[in-house]
Symmetry: C2
Subunit: 314 residues, 2 copies
Amino acid sequence: MNIPSYKQVDKAHIRVRQYAHRTPILSSTSINRITGAKLLFKCENFQKVGAFKFRGAINAVMSLSDGAAGRGVATHSSGNHAAALALAARKRGIDAYVVMPENAPDIKKKAVAGYGATIYFCKPTLKARESALAEVIAETGATEIHPYDNSDVISGQGTAAKELLEDEGDLDLVLAPVGGGGLLAGTALSVSHLSPGTKLIGCEPEGADDAYRSFLKGEIVPSNNPKTIADGLLTSLGNRNFAIIKEKVEQIVTVSEDSIVEAMRLVWERMKIVIEPSSAVPLGAILEGKIDPRNQKIGVIISGGNLDLENLPF
Amino acid sequence: MNIPSYKQVDKAHIRVRQYAHRTPILSSTSINRITGAKLLFKCENFQKVGAFKFRGAINAVMSLSDGAAGRGVATHSSGNHAAALALAARKRGIDAYVVMPENAPDIKKKAVAGYGATIYFCKPTLKARESALAEVIAETGATEIHPYDNSDVISGQGTAAKELLEDEGDLDLVLAPVGGGGLLAGTALSVSHLSPGTKLIGCEPEGADDAYRSFLKGEIVPSNNPKTIADGLLTSLGNRNFAIIKEKVEQIVTVSEDSIVEAMRLVWERMKIVIEPSSAVPLGAILEGKIDPRNQKIGVIISGGNLDLENLPF
C-alpha cells in the first residue's frame, strides 16, 4: 500500500496550483463573537467545481503517464469527485468515465455531464458501484482514480491545508470534515509537517460515524447504513486514509444533524457564502460544545458549496 | 436642495474606508459563458451589515458636528439602512432611533436590535413611517438620516463604484439596482467622473418601476402599490437621487420577477455567494435580454446579502 508523505503534497502543489484557485480565507466578526474563537475559513466552496475535490483529481490526472492517460480515467462517486475528475480529464484532453448512484443530487449529475464525462448510473450501494466500475474499466482500459483511497488524491487534497498554513501561520487547531478521509488525511500530512504544534481534529456526522469508531478501535469499522444530511460524508474510511489519520490526527468528534444545520445556516446568514452540509460539520462541532474554541486561532476547511437549492433544511 | 458632486464622493471615501470593508470583486467562468460577457461583481453582500448601505450611513454619521451627533440619529427604513445606521451610530458612540414597518423581515429586525438601536414599529406605509419618525425627532432632537434622499448618504454609496473603477478600469458598462436611488445616484457620480466613457444602466423590478417611469417622463412618478420579491427596491425615487439619475444615467430597464429569481439562483449556484433578491436585478436584466452583454466588460454592483432563509423563492 502506497502511503503518501508530505513530500508528495509539496510536489502535488506544483501541479495543482497551475489549475486550481488559491481559494480565499474568510473570517466573520459575528461568528467569532458567538464562538469566542478566531476562526479562519479556507473556502474550497470557491474552488473549481465548487469543492476541494478538484485538487486531488487534477493531481491524479496530471500524474498519469501519457500512455495511461490516453485510455482515460474512471471512478465511482456520489458527486463532487466525479465533477472534479471530469473537469481534470478535460484539462488534460482525455476521457472520463463516471459511475454515479442514480439518487445523486441533480446539481451534481448536471455538473458531471456538463464537464463532458460519460456517466453510467447504478444502484446506490457500494457493491453496485464497484461492479459497474469494474465493467467500465474492463471495457475501456481506463485508470481508476479512487475518490479518496488513492495516494495522488490524498496528496492533492493536502494542498488546501498547505495554503491555509502558508497564509495563516500559528494556528492552534485545524478542523476538517471526514467521510472517506481524503481531505482529512491530506490535511494531516500538511499540518503535521508544516506546523507540528497545531492540533488536527476530524469532524464527522453522528449518523455516519465510522471514522470515529475506527479511530477508537484502532482498525477500520465500516459504515453500516449511514444517514446524514452531509451527503459528502456517507462513505467509509479508506485504507490509506486511515493509516495516515490514526497516526497524525488528534481526535475525531461527532456532530448531530441539528448542529450541522445550525452551523450551515449561521455561515450562510453571517458570511453570505453558500456551503454544503458536509462543510458545516466542523463549525457544528464547535456550536455543539464538542470542541472548546475559546481564545483559539482555528483554521476550518470549508470543503464545498454544491447542493440542491430546492432541498434546503431551512 | 443640496445635490452632491463627485468631490463629495471622494471626501466620503476618506471616512468610509476607515470603517467599511473594501469588498472583493468576483467573477464566474460559468456565468461569463452563459452571458457571453465578462461580468465583474462588486460584492457589497460582504460589506459590514451585509449591504452597501453601511457606506452611506457611516459617511453621514461621521459628517455630523459633535453637537448634532450628541443628540443621536434617526431614520425610517425597511431594513438594511436601519442596520447600517445603527452600526454607524455605535461606531461613533451615539444613539440611533429607528422607525421600522412591523412587517420587515425578521433577520433585519434582529440585526437592528443587535447593533443597539432603539426601534419603533409602525404600520407599513410611508405616511405612518414619516409621522412616527417626526415624533421621535421632536422628542429626542436627533438628526434624521434619510435612507437615500440625503447628500452624505448618496456620496457614501458612491464609494462602492469608486472602488470598482479603481480596481477594474476600462468597463464598458456598469449596472446597479434602483429603489430609492441612493446607490444608483452615488454610482452615477463616480462613473461619470472617473470613467466618462462607461455607460451606467439602472435595473428595476417591473413590479416597482417608478424609476423607469420617472426617467421616461422627466419628472418623479411615485410608486403606486409596488410589489416585488426585491424588497430593498420598493421605495420611490428621492428628489436628490432623481436629479442626479436623470442627468447621468444612460437608461433604466425593468426586470420580471421570474428573471430576478433565476438570476439570484444562478449566482448562488455558480458563485456560491448569498445575495438578496434586490442584488439579482441587474443580472436578471441580462438574462431577460434587456441588456446586450455580449463581449462587454460589465461591472455589476451586488447590493447586499440579507434575507430570510426560510422564505427562499426556490
